[in-house]
Amino acid sequence: MSTIEAPVTDVFTENDITEWMSEYLAKLLDVSVDEIDVDADFRSMGLDSSSTVGISGDLSNSFGVELGESLLYDYPTIKDVASHVVTLQ
């Protein structure tokens, strides 16, 4: 997968996480960003257990926050992840 840039900012918003996740999944699944539903369950997108942990790791690296490996299991939609991760900064 090619690179996706995290926003160059000290403080990130829910929207930043949502945009990053949407772009990441659009690249991974080879669809347009518009086709990514922020309310859809990650499982319904076809992601397996291993990939959800991998995505959590990439999100953690990009935004510089400590995220648990079960993040996408505990927060199963982009919207849920964004609203949770934004509280961790």
């Binding site: 997968m1 090619s2 690179t3 996706i4 840039e5 995290a6 926003p7 160059v8 900012t9 000290d10 990130f12 990441y24 991974l28 699944l29 080879d30 499982r43 997108m45 076809g46 992601l47 397996d48 257990s49 291993s50 990939s51 942990v53 991998g54 995505i55 790791g57 990439d58 690296n61 990009s62 935004f63 510089g64 490996e69 079960s70 299991y73």
Partner: protein, 322 residues
């Protein structure tokens, strides 16, 4: 100021999964190790007592060819893991579904494990080496058992994002991956139903179809595949100098669909042809050739004579030096 991050840099080769997912993996490993073995003992016993009907043997052979040759070696291995040839979406989906019949895990899991095996062959990152049990060195009988069956119970989960991200772009693949268990079970139900239809006694046909086309077939394909991980890294001959212990084993080449020309495969991983000499029987490659003849496969990769000679000379030079 936060720096720009790269999502494909510095990824781990394994990921931590939940206890629940680990338990499912271990139950799957237990199931494929024990249930087909029990079914095979029963089937062989019944064959000794009552004899073996031709339809049961035919179901075994046909479903074995679909699973081991078309599904595992041609589909999961040569096509999905190594992109050794190209085909259309329908053939690709069929080969992948046949691979699910083997009960060796969903395609994306299988492919990521296999690519990890090639990236770390016979080192501590290898998922099923006879010489490493995760981080610890092993070998001998313990190493054989670990690489044959043990790894399935305690392996660290391979990152599918790192090793098989290309497959997530394929909608058919995601559908089959998600419905892996349904397709795997269909591989047991189908021969049972055919058995019930063709046998004089439908109930007996159902049982014999389930046993021979289902459990015995899964048992043999499971151990044929596992022998590539264990035996083909321990004993056999080497025609090419590779940075691992891969070896060729002619005696297992037919039952494994050509998989046990394993030193050849590690020397030329992207080749669709594993049996590189005319006498090295390779059913998987013959199946790819048939698909090509029918116009259903193209861009079939094979190594040039020049490249094979060069690698062979490297081995001879290596042997002379040692």
């Amino acid at each position: 100021m936060r720096e720009t991050s790269q999502v494909d840099g510095g990824r781990q080769i394994t990921v931590g999964i939940s206890d629940r997912t680990k338990l499912i993996q271990q139950m799957h490993a237990f199931g494929i190790t024990v249930i087909p073995a029990v079914g095979t003992v029963i089937a062989v016993y019944l064959a000794f007592v009552n004899g073996l009907e031709m339809y049961a043997l035919t179901l075994f052979l046909v479903f074995y060819f679909m699973t081991m040759v078309l599904g595992i070696t041609v589909g999961f291995h040569r096509l999905l893991s190594h992109c050794a040839f190209k085909t259309g979406p329908v053939v690709e989906a069929m080969l992948t579904i046949f691979g699910c019949f083997a009960f060796q895990g969903p395609p994306i899991y299988w492919v990521s494990n296999h690519r990890r095996h090639h990236g770390h062959s016979d080192t501590h990152g290898d998922i099923h080496s006879p010489y490493f049990k995760n981080e610890d060195k092993t070998g001998g009988l313990k190493g054989f058992i670990y690489s044959h069956v043990g790894w399935m119970f305690d392996h660290k989960t391979t990152s599918t994002i790192k090793y098989a991200s290309n497959l997530f772009k394929n909608k058919n693949m995601l559908f089959i991956n998600k419905n892996y268990y349904r397709f795997a079970v269909a591989g047991l139900v189908l021969p049972a139903l055919i058995g019930a239809f063709v046998a004089a006694d439908p109930l007996e046909g159902l049982a014999m179809g389930f046993l021979w086309g289902g459990l015995v077939r899964v048992f043999v394909s499971y151990h044929a595949t596992s022998s590539v991980n264990s035996i083909a890294h321990m004993i056999g001959s080497r025609d090419y100098d590779t940075n691992d212990t891969s070896r060729n084993n002619a005696w297992l080449s037919i039952v494994s669909g050509g998989e046990t020309w394993h030193n050849n495969h590690h020397a030329f991983p992207s080749s669709a042809k594993f049996g590189l000499k005319w006498w090295q029987v390779d059913l998987g490659f013959y199946a790819v050739c048939l698909l090509k003849l029918l116009g259903l496969a193209w861009d079939v990769k094979t190594p040039s004579n020049h490249l094979m000679n060069k690698k062979n000379q490297m081995l001879n030079k290596h042997l002379k030096e040692h």
